[in-house]
């Protein structure tokens, strides 16, 4: 019997009523993500990848088709889906520890256990020592680490990330990518990562879902069969990069 995919995106279409008639934002998008897999969705702006992110996250409904997580239909946000956004969306009135512990508080985890898990998570993302800091005093990269730890705290089946490193400088971006790969390896999480940066996709993903626009659809799914850590100067890296770039 075939193993059930962690995520199944099944014929998802999305139509909006625009000013000049209906807009087909997504047209029959379908793909699976296996347990523990790291999949990137890459495409030019306007290809509907953020819409797809929001539909998978349960933040907006598909016009037709559906998304299933572990066989169950996604019909709203839940703790099964850990969300990380480009703009962090930290709770500014909560400290770093308060943000990371938010989901555990809602789940009713006892204080001592919660504090222990928050400490472990802060250690995992390299923010030990910042537990009592408020988000306003953090750099962009640190905010994104907090957002990642916060999403991981409730142990979601899928980590869903929308251009998470799009707002930080190039150096920080490289560092955060390496850290994310470490955390992925360490936690065994399934990751679905939306980006417009082809190089980022090739560096991170097991598979890259390449999207095209007007209407937003899948152009091709590219396997990235390169050992990690991946070097962008590597021939296989460059070949995959150019192959994807050609399709966009």
């Amino acid at each position: 019997m075939a193993v059930e995919p962690r995520v199944r995106v099944d014929g998802v279409s999305k139509r909006y009523d625009g000013a000049n008639g209906p807009v087909q934002a997504l047209d029959h998008v379908a793909f699976d993500v296996a347990d523990g897999e790291f999949v990137c969705i890459v495409g030019p702006s306007g290809c509907g990848k953020t819409t797809l992110f929001r539909i998978i996250a349960g933040l907006e409904p598909a016009t037709t088709g559906h998304v299933a997580l572990d066989g169950g239909r996604v019909d709203g946000p839940s703790t099964d889906l850990g969300l990380v956004f480009q703009e962090y969306h930290l709770f500014p009135w909560r400290t770093v520890a308060g943000n990371v512990g938010f989901g555990l508080e809602q789940a009713g985890v006892a204080t001592a256990e919660r504090e222990r898990r928050v400490r472990d998570l802060l250690d995992l993302v390299g923010l030990d020592g910042f537990a009592d800091t408020y988000p306003r005093d953090l750099s962009g990269g640190m905010k994104q680490r907090v957002a990642l730890a916060r999403a991981l705290a409730v142990d979601p089946g899928l980590l869903l990330m929308d251009e998470p490193f799009g707002a930080v400088d190039a150096q920080t971006k490289t560092m955060l990518q390496d850290e994310l790969l470490d955390i992925w390896r360490e936690t065994g999480k399934t990751v679905l990562f939306v980006t417009h940066d082809v190089e980022e996709a090739v560096k991170l993903a097991d598979r890259v879902v390449v999207m095209a626009k007007e209407p937003g659809r899948i152009r091709e799914v590219v396997d990235v069969d390169i050992d990690r850590p991946r070097e962008r100067s590597d021939d296989a890296f460059i070949a995959t990069y150019e192959r994807i770039l050609d399709r966009i």
Binding site: F85, P92, R94, G103
Partner: protein
């Protein structure tokens, strides 16, 4: 696994020490200079006028002392506080609650919007008749007038704050296990709009001191009635004395609340 944090941490910009950092000797000196100049002008002007038109600062100080020494000042203040507190508490509580409810629920907003628009421009003073009919000439009646004034300020401040809560924060909270309106309001909506809510409360409690005069116009004892009666008797020194008491009370409450607000919003 350990990761070095090599990025810069923006240093806190002294926001916590803000209260002390504000103290600047040059500003204090200028402020004192302003007060001295004002008193000098006032004294000069009072020399050209009979005391029932404009008493001198010294005469006012004497009256202030006499009112305090006789205890009359504290009786009046005590009476005003007895309706200021329930008025401020009920007006603030109901205003904040209504602001949250209507800004959060489009249904409640639609239902109440016409009524809100009709009631909003009614000045609290115009409700004196209702205060007397519903509560009588007592603290409850005066508190009602004060509460109405506090209600609207808090209602609009809270409404604006809640309306401005980011949809994304709500999405994040939902993805972290927050379910249901009450739960979302408690965990996200209220803390996120606390800056606007507390600014409303602060404005409201200041406004309540102004409304004390209006609320006592129909005969409830307190600072307001003292001011109104003294005005009728042309006791301008008494009028100014009690205006000063109102100002002092406003100042004390405002400074105390601002300190509380800064603590509650230390994250800003």
């Amino acid at each position: 696994m350990a990761i070095d944090v090599t990025e810069d941490v923006d240093s806190p910009t002294g926001a916590l020490g803000g209260g002390l950092a504000d103290i600047d000797t040059r500003r204090i000196a200028r402020g004192l200079g302003g007060v001295v100049a004002f008193l000098a002008l006032w004294t000069g002007a009072s020399l050209t006028q009979p005391s029932y038109v404009l008493p001198s600062p010294l005469a006012v100080a004497e009256t202030f002392y006499a009112e305090a020494a006789s205890g009359a000042l504290f009786v009046a203040l005590g009476n005003s506080v007895l309706h200021w507190i329930p008025g401020a508490v009920f007006g603030t509580g109901l205003g904040v609650a209504a602001g949250i409810a209507l800004a959060w629920s489009p249904y409640l907003d639609d239902v109440s919007s016409p009524v809100v628009r009709v009631l909003r421009p009614v000045p609290p003073l115009a409700l004196v008749g209702f205060a007397i009919a519903w509560f009588g000439i007592n603290h409850a009646g005066a508190a009602f007038i004060i509460a109405v004034g506090a209600f609207w300020i808090n209602f609009y401040a809270t409404y604006g704050g809640v309306e401005g809560v980011s949809e994304d924060l709500l999405d994040v909270a939902r993805s972290l296990g927050v379910e249901g309106d009450l739960h979302l309001v408690r965990t996200v909506v209220v803390p996120a709009s606390l800056p606007e809510i507390t600014t409303g409360i602060r404005t409201g409690i200041g406004r309540c001191w102004m409304l004390v005069v209006a609320a006592e116009i129909f005969g409830v004892a307190g600072i307001g009635r003292r001011i109104l009666r003294a005005s009728n008797n042309l006791q301008v020194d008494v009028v100014i004395t009690y205006i000063l008491v109102l100002s002092l009370m406003y100042l004390v409450v405002d400074v105390a609340f601002r300190a509380l607000q800064r603590r509650a919003l230390a994250w800003q």
